[in-house]
Point group: C2
C-alpha cells in the first residue's frame, strides 16, 4: 500500500516510522509546519509538502493524524487528493462519520498509547482500534495494524469515545497521581525513585487481578484515622486535600458496590 501521512506531531511521527520500519511504503509526508514535515520526511527518506494542493494523488491510504480541532477544515482539502483512496484519522474522540460528506471510503486507526517526543514507542505494545465504512476496508486496516502490533481490535465510534475517556483515567490521570506523589516526596527530601517499585507492582497487579480486587490502602479498608491525618498533612494545598477526599470517597463507594 502506498501511504500518504498527513501530520507530523507525536502520534504521526511515531506511527509513520513504525509503518516505514514494517516495510510499508510512505509516499509522502504533509505538515502545515515545513520544519516538522521536513524532519519526518528526512527520517524515513520520502518527499514532503506543506500544501494540501500538492498531496500525492497516487496514495492508496491517506492517514490524517493531527490535533482534533484541525480535522474539520483539513478533511475537505485532503479529500481532494484521490477520490478512490481510503481515508482514515487516528483520533480517539472523533467519530468516523466526520469523513462521510467528503470521501467514499473511510475509517479510523486509533493507536491507544501515550506518545512523547522524548521517548520511543514499541508498537508491539500498542492496542489498535479499527473502524471502516466498508468491510473490505476494515479488513485491510486490521491487516495493516497487525503488521505493527498483535493487539488489534474492532471498535465503533461510540466505543472509541469510551476507550479514550477510559485511557484518560488509566493513563493521564494515573500519571498525574505519580506527579502529585513525586512532588510530595521532593518537598520532603525523598527520592521519587523509591516509589518506582510500588508503581510497577501496581501496574503489574492488574494483569492478574481486576483493579477493584487489587485495590489496597486507607480508603479501601476505611481507615478513618489515617485518612484524617493525611487530610491534615494536605491542609496547605486545599486542591490536593479536595482530590484526596473525593478519590477516597469514590474508592469507598466502588468498594461497597462490589457484589
Amino acid at each position: 500500500m502506498n501511504i500518504v501521512m498527513i501530520g507530523a506531531g507525536n502520534v504521526a511521527t511515531h506511527l509513520t516510522q513504525a509503518l516505514h520500519q514494517a516495510g510499508e511504503h510512505i509516499l509522502q509526508v504533509y505538515s502545515r509546519t515545513e520544519q516538522s514535515a521536513a524532519a519526518l520526511a528526512q527520517a524515513i527518506g520520502c518527499p514532503y509538502t506543506c500544501c494540501t494542493e500538492e498531496l500525492d494523488p497516487r496514495g492508496d491510504l491517506y492517514i490524517v493524524s493531527v490535533k482534533d480541532d484541525a480535522l474539520p477544515h483539513l478533511l475537505p482539502e485532503v479529500a481532494q487528493a484521490n477520490p478512490e483512496a481510503l481515508f482514515v484519522h487516528t483520533a480517539g474522540s472523533v467519530p468516523m462519520n466526520i469523513w462521510e460528506t467528503h470521501v467514499r471510503r473511510y475509517g479510523v486507526i486509533y493507536p491507544m498509547q501515550t506518545f512523547s517526543k522524548q521517548r520511543d514507542i514499541d508498537f508491539r505494545e500498542v492496542s489498535f482500534f479499527i473502524e471502516a465504512s466498508a468491510q473490505a476496508d476494515e479488513v485491510q486496516l486490521m491487516q495493516l495494524a497487525r503488521r505493527l502490533s498483535p493487539k488489534v481490535y474492532r471498535a465503533t465510534s461510540e466505543q472509541r469515545k469510551y476507550l479514550h475517556i477510559a485511557a484518560v483515567f488509566a493513563c493521564n490521570f494515573a500519571n498525574h497521581m505519580y506527579a502529585i506523589s513525586s512532588r510530595l516526596l521532593t518537598e520532603h527530601g525523598l527520592p521519587f525513585d523509591a516509589m518506582l517499585p510500588l508503581i510497577d507492582e501496581t501496574a503489574r497487579k492488574v494483569h492478574r487481578l481486576p483493579p477493584s480486587e487489587a485495590q489496597t490502602g486507607p480508603a479501601q479498608r476505611n481507615d478513618v484515622s489515617i485518612m484524617a491525618s493525611h487530610l491534615q498533612m494536605l491542609e496547605d494545598t486545599p486542591q490536593l486535600q479536595e482530590l484526596y477526599k473525593k478519590i477516597s470517597k469514590n474508592i469507598h463507594q466502588y468498594n461497597t458496590e462490589l457484589p
Copy 2:
C-alpha cells in the same frame, strides 16, 4: 537473629515468609486470631501463640506488623516479652516514638509495597525505609532489610508519613484510576486487557522522565472541547464527572507552574 513476628495479616505474612526464605530464624509467630497464626506458623515451620503472655522471651527482634489502630494497646503487652530486645513496627504513618515509653531499643521497618493475599511479592522489588532509636540498631535493621531488597533507605518518622501519603497517590489512587477505567470499558463492551499496554507504558515512562514531563492528554494540552465532551459523557455519574474536572484542573495547574 531470632525473630518473633507479631501479626499474621498481609504484610506480616509476606514479610515473615521472605525473612524465612532469606535464612532468618523465625522463633515464633503471634496473632490474636488462632487460624491466621497457625497458617503462617505452619507455612514456615515454627511455633505460634495467640497470647501475648506466651511470647517467646528469647527473641532478638520483635516485629509488630498489625493494623495501625491495634498498635497502641498491643505495644505495652509485646514490650514485656524481653526488655533487652529490639522492637520495630512496619507502619508508614505511625511515628517511631510510639515505642518510647515501653522499650529501650526500638525502630521501624517500613516495606513500601501493595500487598494482597492473592499475590506473591518479590521483595527485591520492595523499597524499605528504616529508622531506629540507636545507630547500632539502625545499622542492624538496614542489614536485615538488605537481605531482602537492594532498595533500603533511611527515613525519619516525619519523612515516612510523607512516603505513605505519596504511596497512597502513586499506588492506591493510581489503581483507582484503573478501576474507573475498567468500569467504563466493561459498561461499553470493551476488554480491560486492551488498556494494559497503556498502563504498562505509563508506569515505564516515569522510570525515564519525571511524571510532570511524562504527562499527556486533554488536560495537559488544555483541549477544552475534548474535556467538555468527556464531562458530558459522565453526566450520569456526577461523582466521576466531579473527579474528572478536579484532576484535569490540577493537571493544568501543575503544568502552568512548571519552570
